[in-house]
Amino acid sequence: MLPTRSTPSSSKASAVGARDAGPNRLSRRRRQEVLHAYLFLLPCFALFALTILYPIGRAFQISLFHWSIVPGGASDFLGLKNYQHALHDPVFWRALANTGFYMLITVPAQIVLGLLAAVLLDARMPARALFRTLYYLPVVTSWVVVSLVFRYLFITQGGLVNWILHDQLHLVAYNINWLGARWTAMTALGILGTWKGVGWSMVIFLAALQGVPKVLHEAAAVDGARAWGRFRAVSLPAIRPVVAFVTVLLVIGGFNVFISVYLMTGGGPVDQTQVLLSYMYRQAFSFLDFGYGSAISFLLTLIVFVISLAQLRLFRRPAGAS
């Protein structure tokens, strides 16, 4: 979860209680405040630093070497050569393109469909809690299980998807070879990703919509706005920060797609559907080239970081939106 401000505003995160007059009392209070702050912070941050930051550092160190996995084995220092290798590796770029395509499908789809579902649920209606739970069901199911189920749903002859499209609805002239070609396979993966994540964004949007003050809706209605107009004029701007938040997280999630690709296509056929993480996994655990695998993961991190920053700038631009 990313704040739209880079640091919490000082008006809210006030140094509560540090307003007493007098220089001596002030500095003593300040010192006490800082002490308390650290007391609350450090147990948590220590665990975080130990289990997350330190391994990240080690992983970065590994990326600078041709790392030998045997303890005590000799590792050659490569500097940034692993990174250079990645930038010249056609499969790396293909994986990046595939990951990008995957996000082009899943991110807008989850936002639009999630918002649509939330709008539909944003009314007093029977069985609302039931609908919410059912839409959320895919979110709580394990990736491994749904990937295997979807692999069977997308089988060319006799899979559910083709059965519906071709045999029942006659929407397509022939059975689509979903997992057999690059773009159809990535689309199938995108459909899985969207299906799995819609419930998550729906729940967040629903909460946001319910937080929009009723007075705004009523004012717009008085001005003669109909449902769609009210939505555009009132609801959308009000939930803009939420859309930003959801988008950033969906992008991070999209970049981290792995299990579904691993199980549905294995990166194939012929490496056509590799995504960054599946490629990294193979380099590290099949070919035992941990240095290279690490380098790929840090390049991924860098890309995610840059894109997230850009997104936050983008969403911050219109006046009064934050």
């Binding site: 809210k12 997350i52 739970t133 819609v198 939420v242 938040f245």
Partner: protein
């Protein structure tokens, strides 16, 4: 002011329900397929074309999954780890969030930024360094090893969620307590936490879910089968040459049940928590 009258409103509601139901059907189709297969006897090979309704439905798979090699034990292990992780993560991250929300101190932006960046690194690549660390801490092959690392992994997201919520609690309330002589710990425990129930419920559900479904780390550090967790148990039904799909899906259904129950119960808190946590981001 009613525009269009009751009829139009009823029509609109009917349309809503129709669209929502259509959506639910699409969402549930894969599950229907899973459930149907879980009730088929001996489904070693998935059937094509699909048959939604098994010809001879049976609960044999559920019985077999539950009574198979230690499944109940794996279930219990998962429960223990998930609850311990959730409790620890909630306590630690709420403390850190409180610190960010209520105090100014040197290094604050740095700490915040580090947490932010760490969220972007793929966890897969930390596997080996974390394994080496777990070995050095002597928590390999133990449920503690799971709890420690799961908690660490959830601290970042939870802190952001809670921090945002804490910020919205008016500081006037804090000041009232300070005038009465309350220590920061009292403010944290007696004021902030009780007011943050929705956000805490949200963080709890996310953390529980993350711990419940986690597979790779558990598989990596646990060697003693008596300490396996549920996702490993499900993976074990997949053999080298074939998979007992009926068993896999029955076991998965059993695994989904607790999370779904928790979500159904805490729904309202959950949604309220998301509202405040996300909307005010």
């Amino acid at each position: 002011m009613v525009v269009g009258g009751r009829g139009r409103r009823r029509g609109a509601m009917a349309l809503r329900l129709a669209l929502l139901t259509a959506g639910v059907v699409v969402m549930l189709l894969p599950f229907a397929y899973m459930l149907a297969t879980s009730f088929k006897p001996n489904a070693m090979v998935l059937e094509i074309p699909l048959k939604f309704f098994p010809e001879h439905p049976t609960t044999a798979n559920y019985v077999a999954a539950w009574t198979s090699n230690r499944f109940a034990q794996y279930f219990l292990n998962s429960v223990i780890v998930a609850i311990a992780t959730t409790a620890a993560a909630l306590l630690l991250s709420s403390m850190m969030a409180f610190s960010f929300a209520r105090f100014r101190f040197p290094g604050r932006s740095l700490f915040f930024g580090l947490i932010l960046i760490a969220l972007m690194v793929p966890t897969m690549m930390m596997l080996i360094p974390q394994f080496l660390l777990a070995r050095d801490l002597h928590v390999l092959d133990s449920l503690w090893g799971l709890v420690v690392f799961y908690t660490g992994g959830n601290l970042g997201f939870n802190t952001f969620l809670l921090h945002s919520f804490f910020q919205d609690i008016p500081s006037e309330l804090d000041e009232a307590m300070i005038v009465d002589g309350a220590s920061p710990w009292t403010r944290y425990w007696r004021l902030i936490l009780p007011l943050s129930r929705p956000a805490l419920a949200t963080a709890a559900i996310f953390t529980f879910l993350a711990s419940w479904d986690e597979f790779t780390w558990a598989l990596t550090i646990i060697n003693d089968p008596s300490r396996y967790t549920l996702p490993i148990a499900i993976a074990l039904f997949q053999g080298q040459h074939s998979t007992s799909w009926g068993l896999v899906f029955a076991a998965s259904a059993i695994a989904i049940a607790p999370v779904l129950i928790i979500f159904a119960i805490f729904q309202r808190q959950f949604v309220a928590g998301i509202a405040s946590g996300a909307v005010k981001a």
